[in-house]
Amino acid sequence: MRVVIAKPGLDGHDRGAKVIARALRDAGHEVIYTGLRRTPEEIVTIVEDEDADVLGLSSLSGAHDHLFPRICDLLRTRGLDDVIVFGGGIIPSSERPSLHDDGVRAIFGPGTTTSEVLEFLTTAAERRDAGDAVGVGEDAEWRWA
């Protein structure tokens, strides 16, 4: 799949995002890495132009609670309802349910193995192929536990 890995907000570190990006490449995906400090609008334009299947958002410094929902809304506004969105980084458990409700299907905190992320992507792709809701603009009930 074509996966965009994005760094919204003002984080200065991207080692985690790069580790994930490489793991996805080694599993056969084509990964587009946006680099640091991208705005929501830039990220959504990238997803659109790259015709990405999946968007992974990485946030370490707390921007997730404002920026992840904003990006999900923008994806929907631009008609990118079928894009599968996941998040990672430092995201407290208490804040995850509302992100899931906004359309983020999985959230991976510190200690997540790369194989878990790959398993999520395989499962999400199977859901999509079966016609089940998994895109950011589709019914938000299903989430990766």
């Binding site: 490449r25 056969g28 995906h29 084509e30 990238i46 192929d129």
Partner: protein, 323 residues
Amino acid sequence: MPAMRWGSARTPSGAGRESVAADSESDLFSAAKDGDRRALGRLLSLVESGQPAALRLAASVIPPRSDDGSSSATVFGITGPPGVGKSCLVDHIATAWSEAGRSVSVLCVDPSSSLSGGALLADRMRMTESGASDAVHVRSMATRGVSGGLAARIHAMVAVLLACGRDRLIIETVGAGQAELGIATLADRIILVEGPDRGDSIQAEKAGISELCDLIVVNKSDLPGAEQAADSLRSAASLDSNPPPVVLVSARTGAGLDDLMASLQELPRRADATHARARLRLLAALESSALSDARFEELVESMAAGDISAAEAARMLGQEGSS
């Protein structure tokens, strides 16, 4: 072991987005011509994945290309070794053209892993200037098994982009000099970017893309060694009857960028390269036809199992048969 599926890592069923019933390629094409970027993205994916109807559409819009250098420059290839700053320069050039009213598309090509079939496409990380507005359209592509530094189906994607009204295309590829000549089959003008760590001047005289390029840009002029690199490239180039100009710039400080944009304005095509470029186009066409042959992957499997030799496999592909 399954045959290589480039960039797929698909579900066991092998289904992907392009197999999901969606807008037809002609609907996408009409929408893309009207400026719908999402439709353009979807259409390019269909072409890239080799979907037959999309390829037929691309073939129907391929503009006639003359090899005599008379076509006006629309497709610019930017190539050079890794790490010289191609992406930063592409960012600057694309933004400048876009601000001057052109509609610009950039295709950034990076290598696919021959082991996993995946790719890390990170060129657009550097494109912060053009990324700040969405005027410049950028698409990242993996080579997917094609040699020469280009990507499979890129010719068809270029045809679609031009037919959708993009009036300047920049193709950015890695070119280490001697092997990555594929850009010569696709671009109207080729810009070779070099950096200060050029090594000795003998390097500068080796054949390859430096014989075919129309302009040489030495980047990182703010670093030591850049002047010497430019001089050694100029002296190597001067041995040619039609040497390309050599421009010194720094994408970081902005030095020389106005001169670069002026050089690009009326850049002539290098005379004497016509024959060499035609030869490369034929080789690229042969490779493309081999890769599209339905038997290609099977033959690779048989070779990997030790059942047949490369020469036998090549003979079988060369015969008339299924494709």
